[in-house]
Symmetry: C2
Subunit: 217 residues, 2 copies
Amino acid sequence: MSRALNRSSFVDAALAVIAEVGVERLSMRRVAGQLGVSAMAMYKHFANKDELLAAAFEEFIARADVLPDTQLDWDQWLEKLAINMYNALSADMSWVSILGSLRLGGNAIAVTDSFVNKLGEAGFSAEVSVRAYMAMIQLVVGAVCMRASLQAEVGREGRRKVVVSELSPITRSYLQNADRQRLAIAPALEAVVSDEPISMGLPLLISGLRQQLAAAD
Amino acid sequence: MSRALNRSSFVDAALAVIAEVGVERLSMRRVAGQLGVSAMAMYKHFANKDELLAAAFEEFIARADVLPDTQLDWDQWLEKLAINMYNALSADMSWVSILGSLRLGGNAIAVTDSFVNKLGEAGFSAEVSVRAYMAMIQLVVGAVCMRASLQAEVGREGRRKVVVSELSPITRSYLQNADRQRLAIAPALEAVVSDEPISMGLPLLISGLRQQLAAAD
DNA sequence: GCATTGCGTTTACAGTGTAAACCTTGTTTA
DNA sequence: TAAACAAGGTTTACACTGTAAACGCAATGC
């Protein structure tokens, strides 16, 4: 039969399925069906579904092509990288639902390496660079998670009013001790939801790094 | 029969199941079994599994009791809050696997409100406060995600060597253009994994905020 | 006393991941 | 060349999932 099937055929098919129906609806049978092949065929190439997903995510990272132009200064480079990552993940947002259970692969680590290299050239120590990378990727991942949550929330039944009666006893008592019966913040939060979530932490992170660099000189 | 069953009985049972086997192995039948009741019983109290999970997470947040002592200064208060959140999520790490698909509830928003209030007292504008909150929670969520990933990775087959041959063509070509055949960063990364991931972004964020506060005066 | 309604039950169905055994090839070896 | 092997597919089977539909029973309101 179609004997050309190999690991990457299935990865391609998996990415196609994900683009179409999202990660959470990916099933072995569906991916196999994409290639007109039985589900069990994949088990000759992948130990299990998790391994298939990990491989697909690795390929996703590679294709996303997130590394910015090397000519940029470290701060712009960092910002661009974060935005690229955020955009890539936002476009296929269903990845977030399994980000926490994915295994890191070589491609993910290669990106880290480039980052540390770039900041190293700018005068940052390796340790600070790694910390900065962690912070950046945490911001990106967290932002995508939030975006997914907020979007689901908004899409469900329009904006939802938050009232104190919905709160748990613990939190409610806290609020009452704070002498407030209403959540003043709700409107501000809503205004912010429509903004790009990644634009919040990033400037703070970069300005913190600049300060650190200046202090070291 | 045990007619005392209500929404919160099931939430309690769900939290018990999660503590025992993790979120990803929670099933309606298992939760119901915990109460000696049929699975379908829950559908009289929750529209579906997602709603049950959302309710369980709300209760989880309330019980986590993350809000720090109000007497603390804003920076220490922020740091403590982030650490509390991180610890709470780390203890029941399986939440991360669905963090991206959870719906936000009143409890989550109440924490936001307290945060903005605290920073408001310290002289931050509402807008900066909200941004800071977003950044903080993104760091926390991202850190937990990373921790989960890294832990899974390390637990799988010991430390894994990263070699260039495992990389995708795209990434490999980037690395070669960068005149490097080896990933120098691997050891540094490994050294960092055992550290507390949340300790990286947080100081950077706080120092960025301090700078912003000083500049506003 | 009777209807209604709340809250459980059982049954059923389509879909899941994957183990086990099998079949069909092209390749290696005696 | 015959025999053995291995790669990579197939079919069947199993335990498990979320949940729709119909049913039953007890407490409540008229």
